[in-house]
Amino acid sequence: MAFEKYDFTPITQSIHQALIENVSPLLTTIIEWTIIGVLYLLFIAVFGLFLVYAERKVCAAFQQRLGPMRVGPWGLLQTIADFIKLLMKELITPKSVDKFLYNLAPFIVIIVPFLTISVIPFAPGLQSLDFDIGIFFVTAVSSVGVIGVLLAGWASNNKYSLIGGMRSGAQIVSYELSVGMSLITMVILAGTMQVSEIVELQRGGWFLFKGHIPALIAFTVFVIAGTAETNRGPFDLAEAESELTAGFHTEYSGIKFAFFFLAEYINLFIVAAMATIVFLGGWMPFHFGDWAAFNNVMDFIPGLVWFFLKVFGIIFLIMWFKWTFPRLRIDQILTLEWKYLLPINLFNILLMATMVLLGWHW
């Protein structure tokens, strides 16, 4: 197919070959690691800053205003200014905090999305780690993130923080289940947990269309639960500003607070990317039946562009939730999970299994 020419595998392979022929294997690994590390660091920094900017512009558009305008053209440099300012802001460590845990929390919330992002395939051949249990790895690692929030809430020795942390604990622990189960639904359809293979399986059509009804239900559940997992939108109880001032990060200032902020946006990206990979065919172009001309045109758009288009679509959806709905109460959040999403999910898994068994999917 046409879009195969955008495959990154030859490039990475040739770099690897060139290195391994000229230098020792150990040095090769070190050089490759350095390149990948720097690339990912740059990607996350730039993408995180861009997402913050995008969020501010999107919410401004929802609210009939303009958003950042005066820093750079159309305010493009706004988040860079914010970042430099936060870097140049005093770090306050209150006397009463548990110093070790207080400083550990930002590390945990950043490490977790960094580990998760490693398995995401951006384009053909552009994936650093390809486990055969990729999906399982994502669910497992991302559940560690809550520990960072809990630690931040507890170590701050502040009442608002503690309440925020505890809320976040209950919430993320619950929604972890829904995320996992909606992924299970799709794993049944795919028959594998390897991320690259899942994308490859969607060459003939995205899983959202292949699995029709149960896939659609799973997608809805995944988006809702993913929003809750990132502590965003109507589920931002952990930092509910009108109740707990700033929730679990009340006592964090300057760059430490920025890391919580950044982690939220990387998590948002990861949720959107997972939805893209599992439901929307990753970097696969959109094909419609046997419209050959249309499909050929679609093929000319590189996989990287497709991937980010879909990711931004989902991110926009999640932002749309945030800027429309009022916040839920803690017991309602748990009710939504345990009385609605979980039974629906259990039922949905069986439905999907039945469909796969009877071959009713496309």
Binding site: V71, A81, D82, M88, K89, T245
Partner: protein, 178 residues
């Protein structure tokens, strides 16, 4: 058109701070960068006392849109805020609270006294027994905005003044001395 002339609008009459000894170019450039960042991302504390708080909300709202300056990220906790806008009167019971809030803001911090009450006590200057006669008796104030309440454009003008004030700061004096 009842507003100030362009010349007067652009006038910057802030007292100039001394330059570095030896006139270090690198530090001057770094200062310019840091001041650019700081002046363009001043996050206010959500703090409102009287009528001016409503005008402060109006500044944040769609019509005037404080977000254009990058100032819309109102933080509820002083640890993450950069600026207090004292929007209204401060009385003797509130003064320690205001002082404490100001103390808890991480450096650098800026204060805008908005409205007659915060500038001088305003309508409560002569006859009231409980109002502090100007918020600068409690915490140092950077910019004063008269008006009761000042219209949103007046507060936006104060933001511009604050930007001018931030842009002449020298940030690396302390490091130089060491």
């Amino acid at each position: 058109m009842g507003i100030t002339s362009k010349k007067e609008f652009e006038k910057n009459d802030f007292p100039v701070l001394d330059s570095y000894e030896g006139g270090s170019i690198i530090l001057t450039q770094l200062d310019a960068l840091v001041n650019w960042a700081r002046s363009n991302s001043v996050w206010p504390l959500t703090f409102g006392t009287r009528c001016c708080a409503i005008e402060f909300m109006a500044v944040g709202a769609s019509r005037h849109d404080m977000a254009r300056f990058g100032y819309e990220v109102a933080r509820a906790t002083p640890r993450q805020a950069d600026m207090i806008i004292i929007s209204g009167s401060i009385n003797y019971k509130m003064a320690p609270v205001l002082k404490r809030l100001y103390d808890q803001i991480a450096d650098p911090k800026y204060v805008i006294a908005m409205g007659a009450c915060a500038v001088s006590g305003g309508p409560f200057y002569y006859n009231s027994y409980s109002i502090v006669k100007g918020a600068d008796h409690v915490i140092p104030v950077d910019i004063y905005v008269p008006g009761c309440p000042p219209r949103p454009e007046a507060l936006l003008y104060a933001f511009l003044q604050l930007q001018k004030k931030i842009k002449r700061e020298k940030n690396f004096k302390k490091q130089l001395k060491k």
